[in-house]
Structures are given as C-alpha cells and as structure tokens.
Symmetry: C2
C-alpha cells in the first residue's frame, strides 16, 4: 500500500462512512456532497484511488471500498477519535468543538505517536461523541454508543455514559435515580418540546427534557 495524500485519505474516509462501514456501493454525487467538492473532481479522484487498489470501481456503477482501503480509512478514523478524546479529556474542550481540529490532527503520520497517545489516554474505547475507536488493526470491538435523543420510540437500550459530565448534570441524574447501567425503554417522544418519556428498568416511568436526552449515551439492546 503506497503512501496516500491527505486528500486521498479524506476521500477514503468519506467513502467508508457513506458505505456504512464498507458494505454498500457509494455513488459519485454523495461523495461530492459530503466533501463539498464537485462530481467532476470526485470522478478524477476515484480513478486515482482505484489505480492504487483502495477501491473497486466500474464506470457509472459507483465505488466499493476494498479491504486495503477499509484498513486505511479505519486508521484515519482511529486517529481522529483518539485526538478528540485528547482534546476533551486533557485540554478541556467541549465535545462539540473538537471536530474541526481533529480533522487536521488525523493526518499526522507517526504510528508511534498514535500508540503512545492511545496509552496516554488510557486506551479509550469511545470518542466524546460516543463513537467507537478502532484498535491498531482496525477492529471495532464494541457496539456504538448512541445519543438517546436520536433513537425512535419503542427502542430498548442501556445507559452507558454522559456527554456533559459537569456536576450539575450528574446531580440531576442522581436525583431522578438514573444511574449508569439503567435499562431504558423509550415510551413516547413529545412532539411539541421533544421531551422523552422513558421506562427505567421496566418498573418506573419518568420524563426527561430534550436537553437531558441529548446528553445520555446508550447502547442498543
């Protein structure tokens, strides 16, 4: 696998995400949309990536990422997410202000740097948005953590962590008796304010605001 340019890495990452982890075919326009470039530019780049063996490409048929391409994409994603953890846990950024900076940091080339960073951060398994961090071989072991407010009515899940870990929010969770590990079933989503009615551990029904649901990270059952 030859060295890829920064732009090539970004294309591969986009294709990986758009294809749902590499399984589906991706069309030219969707790549252009995501990368805010024009379809003509995508066609050019697609040919280059196909020449390097990172994607399979048949004209007018869309592209599919190869095993090699997937591996490269996952390494970039791994770096992105580790840097996000660094920015939030060590430098005190909020989780919604780190994406742009991580987009730059993800292209730094040094395998040793990344393994040391991983160790320094305590080998985290999720980034601050709840997305899983691939290991050095590109393996994603854990189920993704999802924000409660993004799930549809009827879903059953388990509370695994919070995005805002400020004491006022933790106090609130304590008060409503919603600790980590609680089983949550979404019973209703109110239309007028998006507050959520949940069944906790199958025994007690409570309602939390949209703002609270935005801060709860859960794993689907």
């Amino acid at each position: 696998m030859e060295e890829l340019t920064l732009a090539e890495e970004n294309y591969l990452k986009a294709i990986y995400h758009l294809s749902g982890g590499g399984s589906e075919h991706v069309n030219t326009n969707s790549i252009a949309d995501r990368l805010k470039t024009k379809p003509a530019s995508v066609s050019d780049m697609i040919r280059k990536l196909a020449d390097k063996g990172t994607i399979d490409y048949v004209k007018y048929q869309g592209v599919q990422i190869t095993e090699g391409g997937k591996s490269t994409a996952l390494q970039v994603i791994r770096k992105h997410r580790l840097w996000e953890v660094f920015l939030v846990d060590k430098l005190g950024f909020h989780w919604d202000e780190v994406h742009e900076i991580a987009e730059q940091l993800e292209h730094i080339r040094s395998p040793l740097l990344i393994s040391r960073l991983d160790e320094f951060l305590g080998f985290p398994k999720f980034d601050p948005h709840g997305d899983p961090i691939p290991d050095e071989f590109g393996v994603i072991s854990s189920k993704p953590r999802i924000i409660l407010s993004t799930l549809p009515n009827g879903t059953t899940c388990t509370l695994v962590s919070m995005r805002d870990t400020g004491s006022s929010f933790l106090n609130y969770l304590d008060r409503i008796q919603l600790p980590i590990g609680s089983e949550i079933r979404i019973q209703a989503i109110m239309e007028f304010d998006n507050s959520v009615e949940i069944m906790v551990n199958g025994s007690r029904s409570i309602t939390v605001s949209k703002q609270v649901a935005d801060n709860l990270l859960v794993v689907k059952k």
Copy 2:
C-alpha cells in the same frame, strides 16, 4: 495577513532561522539547502512571499523577513516547540526523536488549541532541546539554554537544567557536586575524547565526559 500555505510557513521559518532571528539577509542557495529544494523553486516562492508582504526582496540581493513575516514564523516556532514539550513530557518520547513529528504538528491551525496546550503543559519556557518558546505575541523573553558541549573553551555560564533526567544521571551530578545554578567556566576541551575540564563556582576544577557535557543545559553569562 492572509492565510499562508504549509509550504509558505516552512519557507518563512527557514528564513527566520537562517537570518539569525530576522536581522540578516538570506540568500537563495542557503534556503534551498535548508529546505532540500532547488534554487529555482526558492526563487518562485520568494516572489510569492514578497507579494504577500512577509519578506522584502530585491532581485539578486537576497531576502529579509518583515515584521509581519517574523510574527508568523514565531507562531509556527511556538507551536513546534510546545508540541515537542508535549511529546517528551506527556507521551514519553526522548528529546531526539520528536523533531519530525513536531514538523507536522506545527502546521495545525487553531489558536485556541495552542493556548490550551500551553496551559496543559504548565506554560513551559523552553523546549526539550533547550530552545526558548515564544509567547502568544511572539516575544522570546528568556535567553536560550545551550548544551555545554557546544560551547568553546573559555566560556562562562550557569547550569540551568539537564536533557536526560533519568535517576542514574541525576545521581552522578549529585556525586560530583554539580547542582543546578552552579557557575561553570570551560577551562579545556580534550582533543582525543572531547571530555571537558570545568571550573565550578570559581573554586573547584573537575573533568566531565563528552556524554555528560551533552546532557548539561546552560545559559551564557
């Protein structure tokens, strides 16, 4: 000051260093040597940098960095040195393996990131090589720390820190009674093994090996 490209930042940094902090004129060939490019490429880039007002340029006369250019160069140098401190102090790299990585990290754009990093590192004044870190305005307040073995015979200086802070080296310094703050005058440099004979606090003469002198950081009197 418009946004500069990565290559432009590297040229400015090279010109800053070659000119001894911006004071002297710099010629085309020396820039080419330093950046491992050809003089023709340097001529092209010089015109671009002059157009942007970061350097003053008269054909065949060499270039001189402007105040604006100097400010940009110092910001890049600040980032480079802060990242070096991070790599050594936080990730456990040795001071002689961080340059290449810092060359990449110095181009990350985010003023907030740098001020947070500075704070996280405890507002360090020197990088792991002993070079001073400019502040956010580009001001270098402190005299540079220099490796003892690079100074000529006859120099008087003060010991301010070490590069290798392993316990075996600190034990050695303890044993020969050479604490931080000692005044050192170089009395002789042995030709056959580069060991150094020094006068400590004007009262006691001892000899240290080249290996030891390589690890002592001093400030000139």
